[in-house]
Amino acid sequence: LTTITLIVLAIALAAVAGGFAYFLPAAATALQETGQAATVPSPSPLSILFSPSPSPSPSPISQGAFTVLLLGSDDDSKFSADHVLTQSMILVRVLPATKQVVMLSIPRDLYVHLSTGGSGKIDGAYSYGSAGAAIATVEQDFGVHVDDYIWVGLLGLIKVIDAIGGIDIVTSNPVMDDYYPADVFSNDPYGYQRIAVLAGPQHLDGIHAMQYVRSRHSDLQSDYGRSKRQQQVLQAIRAKAKLLAPSDVPALATAIGGELKTSIGLDKVARLVPLAASFDNPDAIQQVLLLPPYAHSGAPGGSLTPNWGLILPLVHQYFP
């Protein structure tokens, strides 16, 4: 009997070991990339000025609601590590009670007070002080509280989309660019390439999805138009991610290794996965862009002047 027990135990142990080995890369990546605390500087006088007064008790709708700042960056050799610009900044409010999501795209060229001091384009906040500075800048200028952040590098987005087998997108128009940065998979980070992402429904791999969301030269709406495309791609990634199985996780983790950072801890990730899967109504995802008159050109260095008188009421409507 002892021998049989021993054999059964050994086989069970071996099976668990095989499973452990399979998920080891994912576990290592998860431990490495998640739960990265962002040091948020203490609030500046401005943030006190703009911060909404806290509600005495959360309404049932906002029960469990949280806000995540999505940051997408150049991470090529033009910049040193952790001193990159954030080409994409999207504030996401998740309302689990009503299964609603609000995505607010912040124009990268918005001229704001930076949490690290002085003023400049908001895409520079991360380069001056990493995620903490980006969060603090958004919090102080927009008067919101950011619970967590997720940062993804250019290569990370490409690898994620490839790892999930591509995404389906209906591109509303041809995206043509004669001077698109050739800084990925290139020896010359200052080089250019021509791109033509044709219009209509299509299945995009990582490289072409990146071209679709990153190009802005041939868009009259420039960064605004690009923000719309970024939100389309995020939703397509979400739609595809819902089809994945747990066994896909190691390959995905290997793909994004080093290209993703987040303050969200593993325990919270485990809670969010089933929550994300339950969001199945595309109409419950609201997209908000800060188009004119919320911001207009004319600020220093080609940046955009924010119209805070319009922006803050709008933001507080969706991010109370």
Partner: protein, 381 residues
């Protein structure tokens, strides 16, 4: 001692096998969503379940394929080939070959052999320092007399111009001539991507014009023009956001996709009288449809659509009964019967329910493939 030793060795082997099996098993449980697409010539199951008439030419991963009698044949290597189009007499193919910075239109045999090059869009050697001096040609079509090439083209380009606005216009050039002998037939809207996918119709061309609507959203519209440089006129609204026109073999209908400015793409049909479109009839709303193409024998419409949620694009076919149902059989009128021995009025017959046309569903022709959904299909009867 020996038995314990054997037991230990045996157990070690069993543990190793179990551990590896567990690892391999988990690997085999990966979702199909991430599975790579197969080449059409190697796909399993092979696309033999449903046979379409004639030969369809399609593009996948930079190669052209023909599909006839339920079999695929690879016509070209995977080096940037896309957008096949047939000569009106069916003798040859036109196709685009995409390189890194430019694309050109070529003539190929229907077996994929290159016969000639109709455009030369690479920047000249003295301008090669400026990638903006290269040009794109897309969506080639020939006039019925096969002497004029129609295409979307973003030139002429001048080295050093530094244009950030790259818009395609519809051009017509003589076959065998140069772009200098050609004419721009349309004037593209700035910063839209321009005018795409022309099709030649009697008296002019129909094409997709990209534009900004009153809300600043970029959207597609079908336009018709019958004169070079003329504005032409819009056939569809900006709200419907239609594109990818295809003329029926009898010339009386147009198939297209309409997206209504959302992440959807409906297969839509409208009658065409040579100058205007009839009302839009939406045929398919539960798929993301691309490149609808009429069967030359009028038996239906082939198109590309994902094989599942967020999946690569497969070949589908919609029989003509879906959009052109046969007339219902005549309802037999009850023959009047005499009133009989009593004087009550003849009871009116209970009206039988109107015959309901069977719902015609599209047929998925291929599986596991990944066709280029920005590449029109060419269908030879």
């Amino acid at each position: 001692v020996i038995s314990k030793f054997l037991l230990a060795v045996g157990l070690a082997i069993v543990m190793a096998v179990t551990g590896v099996s567990s690892y391999v098993y988990l690997g085999s449980r990966q979702s199909k969503a991430t599975a790579p697409v197969q080449k059409p010539t190697a796909a399993t199951p092979r696309a033999q379940a449903f046979t379409l008439p004639g030969t369809i030419y399609l593009a996948q991963a930079g190669a052209l394929y023909s599909f006839s009698a339920g079999r695929f044949h690879q016509l070209t290597p995977e080096v940037g080939w896309t957008q096949p189009a047939l000569y009106p007499d069916g003798s040859h193919l036109l196709a685009v070959k995409r390189s890194g910075f430019f694309s050109d239109v070529y003539v190929l045999t229907t077996y994929g052999g290159v016969v000639g090059q109709l455009t030369n869009n690479a920047a000249s050697p003295r301008n090669s320092w400026d990638i903006g001096a290269n040009a794109w040609s897309f969506y080639p079509r020939l006039s019925p007399d096969q002497r004029t090439l129609w295409m979307s083209y973003d030139g002429p380009k001048y080295a050093g111009a530094g244009y950030f606005d790259v818009d395609m216009a519809v051009w017509a050039i003589p076959v065998g001539g140069s772009i200098q002998q050609g004419r721009a037939w349309t004037v593209a809207n700035n910063y839209t991507g321009g005018d795409m996918q022309p099709i030649v119709v009697p008296g002019g061309i129909i094409y997709t014009k990209y534009t900004y609507d009153q809300n600043g959203n970029r959207t597609g519209q079908l336009w018709f023009t019958n004169r070079a440089g003329s504005a032409g006129r819009a056939l569809t609204s900006t709200d419907a956001s239609c594109a990818q026109p295809s003329l029926s073999p009898d010339g009386g209908s147009l198939a297209m996709i309409c997206t209504y400015q959302k992440q959807v793409s409906y297969l839509t049909i409208a009658s065409w009288n040579g100058s205007g479109l009839g009302g839009l009839r939406t045929m398919i709303t539960d798929q993301i449809v691309a490149q609808p193409t009429w069967a030359p024998d009028g038996s239906g419409i082939a198109y590309l659509a994902p094989g599942g949620p967020a999946a690569p694009f497969q070949l589908w076919f919609l029989g003509k009964n879906a959009y052109n149902p046969p007339p219902p059989p005549p309802v037999p009128t009850p023959s009047p019967s005499p009133g009989g021995p009593h004087n009550e009025p003849v009871p009116s017959p209970t009206p039988s329910p109107a015959p309901v046309a069977p719902v015609v569903k599209p047929i998925q022709v291929t599986f596991n493939l990944g066709f280029d959904a920005t590449s029109p299909l060419a269908w030879l009867g």
